[in-house]
């Protein structure tokens, strides 16, 4: 069954009316996708650290239990850090959702096939790791339900969204790591983000 969903439409739908949702994106295409949907100080697009997007999301979800956290990453990035799904399956943070935009390709390096092109089923892996709400998504109606679940359902939640393997124009977020970190912390924590911790 060939995918019919377009990745930019999927991510735009997931981030529609995002309110105070905290967003982490894996490097490459998913960082461009969240930026195409509208950059925000409450987005942390990565430009490296491949394999760590889900773990950044876990750290954030544990630190901010009252906020919703969404990780948007690619199949290649998720495959590099599969152990993170086991770690999340043990912690089970109710406020974390991990969505893999799965085009079955390494999109930045020449569209080579990833393991998901050969049958590796990331939603099944996530479920086997203890993330009970793990789904594969192929239809527009399912994307809409996923958007609702991210904003209001009890997590943790995992979704592999099968998308067309298209090359799209780059929409680049800011690349300075200190800027990305600082704008995120200021938007989330207010003035206290700039104050020395008083315990030290």
């Amino acid at each position: 069954m060939k995918p019919t969903l377009h990745r930019r439409d999927v991510v735009k739908t997931l981030l529609r009316d995002r309110k105070d949702l905290l967003v982490v994106a894996g490097l490459g295409s998913t960082a461009w996708d969240i930026t195409a949907a509208g950059d925000s100080p409450l987005s942390f697009p990565t430009w490296g650290a491949m394999g760590q997007a889900a773990m950044i999301g876990l750290g954030l979800a544990l630190a901010q239990p009252a906020r919703r956290v969404l990780v948007v990453t690619g199949d290649g990035e998720m495959l590099m850090g599969l152990g993170a799904l086991a770690t999340i399956g043990v912690q089970r943070p109710p406020n974390l959702a991990v969505v893999v935009i799965d085009n079955e390709r390494y999109g930045e390096t020449g569209m080579q096939a990833t393991h998901t092109a050969h049958g590796v089923d990331l939603a099944a892996v996530a479920k086997a790791c203890g993330i009970r709400k793990s789904v594969e998504v192929r239809k527009v109606t399912e994307v809409k339900s996923l958007q609702k679940a991210i904003h209001s359902g009890a997590g943790p939640l995992f979704a592999a969204v099968k998308v067309i393997d298209e090359k799209l124009p780059l929409v680049l977020p800011p690349h300075d790591g200190v800027l990305l970190k600082t704008r995120f912390r200021r938007a989330l924590l207010g003035d206290s983000a700039d104050v020395l911790p008083e315990e030290l």
Binding site: Q52, G59, L60, L62, A63, G83, A84, T87, K181, A193
Partner: protein
């Protein structure tokens, strides 16, 4: 001070500094400190499948406003190299407490290469290294590293020498 008091002292330093998230890949040398952190209701303890996950965890925790610490053994530091680039480029605060293998008393030759290269690897990737060579100095090094990490946005590693931990054979480790 008895030589086995350092884990309790380190736990006190972490608690006093408001460390709330503890990521670890276990090492025999960290056994007591891991138990103390698990017993502390103010700390969320996160076992990891690989040390690399701890860097993502620490970065996410700081984005969310919480301090964290990572516990690992020296061989695991070899799993971190690329992701330390994110720590450097974003200036994420980072505190790692690393128990040494491949030093005095090592019984497994496969632990030696990473142990020997460890300090150079960390420094090459921008992590400051503090060598805690004696049990009584461990907590003071951790206190200093906490300040540099969270007041100066530094990446800090405290290396606890193998002679502090004092495991000499597979059998002694199995008996822990």
């Amino acid at each position: 001070m008895p030589p086995d008091a350092w884990p309790a002292e380190v736990h006190r330093e972490l608690a006093a500094a408001g460390v709330r998230i503890v990521g670890y890949v276990p090492d025999a040398g960290h056994k007591r400190l891991i138990e103390l952190c698990h017993a502390d209701e103010a700390m969320r303890v996160v076992p990891l499948t690989t040390e690399e996950e701890g860097i993502g965890l620490a970065a996410g925790a700081w984005l969310g406003g919480e301090k964290s610490v990572l516990l690992m053994q020296s061989s695991g530091v070899g799993n971190l190299v690329n992701v330390l680039g994110m720590v450097k480029v974003c200036r994420f605060p980072l505190l790692m407490i690393v128990t040494m293998r491949g030093e005095q008393g090592e019984f497994n030759p496969w632990q030696v290469p990473m142990g020997e290269a460890l300090a150079r690897v960390l420094e090459t990737m921008g992590v400051a290294v503090r060598q805690a060579g004696e049990a009584r100095s461990v907590a003071a090094h951790v206190r200093a590293a906490l300040r540099l990490a969270y007041q100066a946005q530094g990446a800090e590693a405290v290396l606890i020498a193998q002679r502090v931990i004092g495991i000499k054979s597979f059998q002694e480790q199995a008996n822990q």
